[in-house]
Amino acid sequence: MRENTATETYSVSLSVASDLEFVELAEAVTATLARLTGFDEETAMWISMAVREAVINAIKHGNKEDRQKRVEIQYAFNRDGLSIRVMDQGSGFDLSQVPNPLDPENLLKPTGRGIFYMKAFMDEVEIHSSPGEGTIVRLRKKMRPRSP
């Protein structure tokens, strides 16, 4: 993959119905754009896994798999990195009520690791959500300076 030397910022948008069938599409688009940004294969894979988690949450927990509701995924990338916004049309949630999956009592729970996954693989994760409103997840991965 060529090095991304572009000074301008490119943007791409993807809008999908709330069906888990579209998760693979979002993952594939993300991996492609991460490579275009200039990330190596391994980093592109982790970024796409983080976005995958955000899209799954938006479809399952946000829009409750209502196919009439959309999940919007917006990408912006330049040589400094890749930013992604994932938005649902759900009723929102209280972030403070999300249990920490690393707490001993939660370690063997089968669910609840999606947000943790995003935070583990991205440089920045911001979640804007409140009951009654949709959720916006902002993810960012910065391009590391290349050694001379």
Binding site: V23, I56, L102, L107, L108, T111, G114, F116
Partner: protein, 113 residues
């Protein structure tokens, strides 16, 4: 999706997994494979993850569910040939402290004795 091959050495059931353990087909196929072994009376399960390329949070959840389901029946579930990507996920989720992992099949099988 994940392809599953089932073989046994003594009373140890080895599931050779190849592909993606991710939400949807991948997690369903994995869950069904573990449940088939349990229904057949198998209690010692060794998951060979050498061919697993991706595991999302739902895949991790299935792994935890399988561990609990096997344990609840008095069995043990252990991991073999954990690829670096999956090892990283197990480490950050602190599950590396829960699962017994092996890099050698013979040693892994003998550990059930």
């Amino acid at each position: 999706m994940v392809r599953v091959e089932h073989r046994t050495i003594g009373d140890v059931h080895i599931l050779d997994l190849e592909g993606r353990i991710t939400i949807g087909e991948g997690t369903s196929q994995f869950r069904e494979a573990v449940h088939r072994v349990l229904q057949q009376g198998g209690r010692n399960i060794l998951l060979n993850l050498a061919g697993v390329t991706h595991m999302d949070s739902s895949g991790i959840g299935e792994l935890v569910s399988a561990y609990t389901a096997v344990g609840n029946r008095g069995g043990r579930l252990k991991l073999l040939h954990v690829p670096p990507r999956i090892r990283e996920v197990l480490t950050i989720t602190k599950l590396a402290t829960v699962f017994e992992t092996f890099d050698d099949e013979t040693t892994a099988v003998e550990s059930f004795r």
